[in-house]
Each structure stands twice: as C-alpha cells, then as structure tokens.
Symmetry: C2
Subunit: 195 residues, 2 copies
C-alpha cells in the first residue's frame, strides 16, 4: 500500500475572481465549492479549453478542467517578494483562490495530494502552477519604482507560485479553516524505475 | 518549468465490464471514451461513492470519479503469474479496461502522467491500483489446483497491478493503438523538501 504523509495548514484567505475583465481575485469570508470549482469564479467549470499550458492538445480542444482553483502560500509569496525587492506579494495579484500558511513548500506537493477541509470538502493537487507573465504585468504596474519586476517574476516564481487543484468532494471552505494535507507516496524511487 | 519524460506503449487489448454481476471484463476492438469514462462500463461516471479505498471520507459520500479506467501491462501480469505459479494472468480477471505492452513498470507511473491516444483522447494517471481480494477470488476459482492464489495475490500484486485513470479528453481508443506517455517531473526531490 502507498504510505501517507500528513501535514496541516491554515487557510488565511479565500478569494474569487468575479470581474470578467481581470484574473485578479478578491477576498470573501467563505464559499461553497462543487465538483466544477468555485461557483462564480472565472475558472469555474467541469471542462475548459486547452491553451498554451497544454501544448499536447490542439488549441481550443475541450478538456477536463484540472485548473479549478489555484493556491499560494504566505511563505512562498514572501520569498517571491524578497527576490523582487518588494515589501509584499498579495495572493490577489496572482489570481489565487486560497492563501495558506504553515506549509512552506506548497508548490512541491505532488499531483494526487489531498487537501481536506473541516466541512468534508476536498481538493486534489493537480501540480505546480507554472508562472506566466500575466501576474508579472500586474505586479509591474503596481510597482513602477521597481523596473525589473516584469522581467524577473517568471524566474523567481518558479517552484514558489503555488499549485492548481480540482475538487474531489463538494463542501464549504472558509477563512481560518485548518486543513489536513494527505500526501500518498511510494517508497520505490519512481524515475529510475520507469526508465 | 517541469520537464517531461516520454515513453511509448502499445494497446494490446481494450476491455469493458457490462455484466452487472461481475467486475470481470471482456475484450472489444475499440470504444469511444468521454469525460466520465467508457460508456456502458461498470466504472463509468463523473462521480462515484466513497468506499474502503477512501477511508478519509464517510462511506457513500459522493466524490469525483478518479477510477474511471484501470490499466494493466502484459509485463506486470506476467510477473504476477510467475509469483503465483500460474501460466498466465489475464487482464479480464483483474477487471482491467486496457492491457498495455512496452512499459514494464506501468504501476510506478506517478499521478498526473498523461496517456495520449492517436485519436487525441487522453487519460490522466490517478495512481496505483492497490490490489484487493476480488480478483484474488476469481483467480483462485479458476485455478483450484493452486491452493495459495487467494492467500498470495494481494502481496505479489503490489506495484504490479497497474494504475487507475480518469479521462482528460474524449476520443476513440483502439486495440493496436500506439500511445504516448508524458510524465512531467520536477528535478527537485519532493519528499525531503516538503517535510
């Protein structure tokens, strides 16, 4: 049987993007997620259209939506801010739906990891949210006195920009929730064995 | 960016379980999968009910169906057969929906790996199919002259019983298809970094 590592983290903020003109999110006290994500959020849906992140598909192909929610951590946002010389990088500017604390290397959580909420709701980690230039543009616009933000964001945000998730079980998610993180793993080294 | 390893494998058989009395599958030449799995198969569905494999949920809770298809490999079935002293272990007896060849350590593929078909259909690996006693009972009944099959199956099938998958993109899957396997990975070691 695979073994399970268990971690805890705290939900510092729940956020939603309801303005169709921007991916920037806004804080809400709680929400009810269903199997398509956060109702009303711009990434809500059971399916979505393949884009630049899925070069293996024709552009516009309908695929299952594994990018329903994005999650960042206070600790990693702080590292990004430090690297850019900024005081703070807010989850809003990254379009994040959840801000966590207490799990420093959030971005390294492997695919398949469960994030379980007190309500019984559960998210599945679908992998690293690889940084792109859209948040870089927001950050640059907000910090004109730091001319290199746009140029440096993608590089310094590698392995720090959090994860994307899909919903495995519906339920409420709230600011101040303590969540359980269940990471299944095999003790067998994967890469060398598969090759 | 995560890097991608690429493998190939051949689809030796496509199988379906349409008889509600048994999980044992039967070969079909091809089928059209959609985002809920193989239409007509006993594991078809966008959602399913949590059971013994999901001890983190109340029994019967509705969750997203990440166990739409199960896949085994000729090579690993051969290892199971050898360990049990049998001539062959057929994918039918394990309730598999696909039999592959050419990827010896199929069961070690990590969650999130893509299996892409010539039609454009794509499966997402949702992890190891941990062995249970149902196939052991089928195997034992078929081999009464080997009295230890029931006792030994779960142990010898560890890391050999294949994977479960969900559908990311609809399309046809056919016997004799050559599939592309795209395994994204981080060069950063995961477990030690998260702890």
């Amino acid at each position: 049987m695979p073994k399970t590592k268990r971690f805890r983290a705290k939900v510092e903020a729940v956020l939603i993007a309801t303005d169709p003109r921007t991916f920037v999110t806004q804080r809400i006290p709680q929400t009810e997620i269903d199997l398509a994500g956060i109702p009303g959020d711009r990434h809500y849906g059971l399916t979505r259209y393949a884009g630049a992140r899925e070069p293996m598909y024709p552009k516009g192909a309908e695929i299952r939506n594994r990018r329903q929610l994005s999650i960042v951590s206070i600790e990693e946002c702080h590292l990004i801010a430090q690297s850019l010389g900024l005081e703070v990088v807010l989850p809003e500017w990254l379009g994040a739906n959840l801000l966590l604390s207490g799990l420093p290397n959030l971005t390294l959580l492997p695919c398949g990891t469960r994030l379980m909420f007190p309500s019984g709701a559960c998210l599945i980690c679908e992998g690293e949210n690889t940084p792109c230039r859209y948040p870089a543009k927001v950050l640059q616009k907000l910090h004109p006195q730091h001319p290199n933000v746009l140029k440096n964001f993608v590089r310094v945000a590698q392995k720090r920009r959090g994860i994307i998730c899909s919903v495995e079980r519906s339920g409420e998610i709230c600011q101040s929730d303590t969540i359980q993180i269940l990471q299944e793993y095999n003790t067998t080294p994967l890469l060398s064995s598969v090759v």
